[in-house]
């Protein structure tokens, strides 16, 4: 399979878009007719809720496919429904591929050695059963958490290299409390700098690690499929991290509902407006919920609303990409 970074960069250029749409279904926020219909067929069961999630995911994908380059299903919401939810996640991944979209599985997994390898093979790669080779999830890229150190990251990089997959390391996350650990000024114990120089923020250290390993997954596009997650809600740190990671893809969450704006992400883009992708979830997939009482039609025409929100996001971002 072709290098993930190359596939993403090409999709961004061809579609003239850097939009990623997060698929974060929540039963109490879905269109009520869609939920009613799924529960009518399957009963008030985990399978019923999962059928609603799968249907919602498919329709969101159909609505945004023209304006987005990728979707980012949030595993937590699917896992919340047990194995049936996981089956819905797999259906959503398959549907996104049929619609020509890349899939970034937002799993934020963290483990080590053979266990990290199992996650990587499952989400990005293949599993051999007897003499049969199967792709359990078939995602194009995953998000991973770096707290366990390189033992937890290198197995993902190795698998991504074999499979043409992408790996986005959480470096500076978009949430309010991300500073608690990620912004600490850190230095190794024996570093002589400790007595004088101030050390560097943890997120910078991780950014350096990600930059150092860029070559392992470098694409012909000049970008590496080893990427970083950096929140749109922290534009200063985003600018600094782009300096430190000139060749890594950056996945930028926190756009829209979380407060990030188009101007905040410009610093992560190259002169062609490429090298980063921006995710919004709620502000796109639940756009219609704010319109229920308005002339736009609300729930009745919710797919139109999702489609319009994705187009608007693309256009806003393209303003700063020129």
């Amino acid at each position: 399979m072709e290098n993930f970074a190359d596939r993403l960069v090409r999709a961004c250029a061809e579609k003239d878009s850097i939009v990623v749409v997060g698929i974060d279904p929540r039963l109490d926020l879905l269109p009520s007719s869609l939920v009613r219909s799924a529960l009518k067929t399957h009963g008030e069961t985990l399978e019923g809720a999962a059928a609603a999630f799968a249907e919602f995911g498919r329709r969101v994908i159909d609505a945004v496919a023209e304006f987005a380059v990728a979707v980012k299903p949030q595993s937590a919401f699917f896992e919340m429904l047990g194995p049936a939810g996981m089956e819905a996640l797999r259906e959503v991944i398959g549907h996104a591929h049929q619609a020509g979209l890349l899939v970034i599985a937002d799993v934020k997994r963290s483990d080590i050695a053979s266990t990290a390898e199992a996650y990587a093979q499952g989400y990005l790669g293949e599993v051999k059963i007897g003499s049969t080779v199967l792709r359990p999830w078939g995602a194009d890229a995953v998000t991973v958490n770096p707290y366990l150190g390189s033992d937890g990251l290198l197995p993902f990089i190795r698998c991504a290299k074999e499979q043409g997959g992408g790996v986005f390391v959480l470096v500076k996350t978009s949430n309010p409390s991300s500073h608690e650990l990620q912004d600490l000024i850190g230095a190794p114990k024996r570093n002589p700098a400790r007595g004088g120089a101030p050390g560097r923020p943890i997120y910078e250290r991780l950014g350096e690690w990600v930059a150092e390993h860029a070559a392992d997954l470098m694409g012909a596009s000049g970008y590496s499929s080893l990427g970083a997650v950096v929140g749109a809600t922290y534009p200063e740190q985003l600018a600094r991290l782009r300096e430190l990671m000139p060749r890594n893809l950056i996945l930028i969450p926190g756009y829209g509902a979380q407060g990030g704006a188009a101007a905040d992400v410009k610093c992560a883009l190259d002169k062609n407006g490429l090298g980063a992708a921006v995710n919004a979830s709620r502000s796109v997939i639940f756009a219609w919920r704010d319109e229920t009482r308005s002339a736009a039609g609300g729930e009745k025409r919710w797919m139109d609303s999702v489609r319009a929100a994705a187009r608007k996001m693309r256009d806003e971002l393209n303003e700063v990409r020129r």
Copy 2:
């Protein structure tokens, strides 16, 4: 539901054991007759492999139930088989409960706000679908990763409080590269200590956070269901963290195959030999693999071997608990 710490401490006292057995199935390491039989029934499919995992998990549970207080299924290996693997995970959890064991789902999840809440509700709690309330996974406790800060931890604590569940925060993990991030000496940016005092290791800061929040999940046993994961492979840090976290449960992985020994964990136990639980995976569940050519019988009597390894581990640990 009764507080998790109280349930765990009581089980340790009643069974005179602090053993947790990790359920880490891997197709190439399972008893070959068991795999053959599952693939014969289900074909060379993910379902076939998942059936082998479920059967292996059930039999390991039956073999160790007398000597262990809990099992710790490693989600990665089940997820590697897609949704079918997740169904096997659910079966293993249910079987452990039937066998009277607690279940710590080793998921190491990390996310924020409503997303963290979804993970917590899924693994520890309940989901409401229409007017029906269901328990998707039914684990007693989960492992969580702290990289995202308290936004990512508090939703788990809230759910655990409602449900009588347990939460083990990764503080100092057992793997060789855990020092890269966890041992950095960290200080807040504006801390005046920065010019003089040396700051503290990241794992100590997290240990303090865990200790500060112990009261949120305190049990009648005097232990909190807000626990920490600290590897047996780092006995000095374990001793230091026990000082910092006198009332938190400690889950200690890294025993056996990873190199931790009974003497290394003594410092985490109170005068009654309680307050911590020790996990081994490979050295118990694959004990028979080292014996294949020996008089012990190897694969043919693999359950006997697993049972003997669990008993031996219990006895070794009880030596240092007295």
